[in-house]
């Protein structure tokens, strides 16, 4: 295996570069997945039937907490990758741990939000609007949940094996995934919540 020392560790082998490009191609497919969910949501958001409208069930406070928590976690994992490039393993692991804690807070608030919807009578079966809403939010939430486990295993592996071309590559790819979840959230925040409360 040829290691190119002029590149950051996560890019240092040919295989690593291919892994990163491959993950970007996966993210391209994820863009289309969330695109179809938005398509469904925009089509169905007015079909509320006998159920509540978006403005009646959306609460700004939990949405703001989720938004700022996820934005900050995207920043901290970026700092984690920067620390990794400096070879500062402990700083990197701390930033990754902070990121996952913020992710956990996000998930907790989202679970609260889903319980709130249940209590005000907006369940999966209530109307086309609530079904499209909960599917879109749920798909994003499931991605965050998966990310929490993935990130935990990344931390454990870096702790055990140290920073090698392989672990650095895996960490970098995980950071791409996490940033992507924040990008999706920006669109959910803007075009589901803010648009619904406007």
């Amino acid at each position: 295996m040829k290691i190119d020392h002029s590149q950051p560790l996560e890019y240092s082998t040919h295989q690593n570069q291919l892994n990163i490009l491959g993950f970007w191609i996966f993210l391209g497919a994820e863009i289309m997945l969330f695109g179809t969910l938005f398509m469904g949501y925009f089509t169905l958001e007015g079909r509320t039937g006998a159920g509540p409208t978006p403005a009646q069930i959306f609460e700004i406070t939990p949405v703001l907490i989720e938004t700022f928590v996820l934005l900050t976690s995207s920043f901290t994992i970026g700092l984690g990758i920067h620390a990794m490039r400096l070879g500062r393993k402990n700083a990197m692991l701390s930033f990754f741990a902070i990121t996952l804690l913020l992710g956990l807070v996000f998930l907790g608030v989202e679970i609260y939000e889903f319980m709130h919807y249940y209590h005000v009578g907006a369940t999966y079966q209530t109307s086309a609007f609530t079904a499209a809403l909960l599917t879109t939010l749920g798909t994003h939430g499931a991605h965050v949940t998966l990310g929490l486990f993935w990130g935990l295993f990344i931390i454990l592996q870096v702790k055990k094996r140290g920073l090698t071309p392989q672990t650095a590559n895996k960490s970098f790819i995980f950071s791409l995934y996490w940033h992507f979840l924040d990008v999706v959230w920006i669109f959910i925040f803007s075009f589901i919540y803010l648009k619904g409360m406007m």
Partner: protein, 93 residues
């Protein structure tokens, strides 16, 4: 400690906070639907680009062109299908 907080990323974070606050104006001030949607479209796409370039390091390596064209492909497909859906199912054109 200072080298752990690169200026580029701190600025990116501050910019994303500011853009979020601008987007919030849509809810907390009285404005028309068109004005609100314009603000949301602008702030959301700038924020997404910010994440891509500042945090995800797209375009830093030799295969940056492949990364950007792949993402652009995804965005084009999504924009076409979302606009097409709106056009046929909601705007009755």
């Amino acid at each position: 400690m200072k080298e752990l907080f690169p200026a580029k990323q701190v600025m990116g974070f501050v910019a994303s906070l500011v853009l979020t606050l601008i987007a919030l104006l849509v809810v907390f001030t009285d404005m028309s639907y068109t004005a609100g949607m314009t603000i949301l479209l602008v702030t959301a796409f700038i924020q997404a680009t910010l994440q891509l370039v500042v945090f995800m390091h797209a375009g830093e390596t030799e295969d940056g062109w492949a990364i950007y064209s792949n993402i652009l492909f995804g965005i084009v497909i999504v924009v076409l299908s979302v606009l097409g859906t709106l056009l046929i199912l909601l705007w009755d054109m």
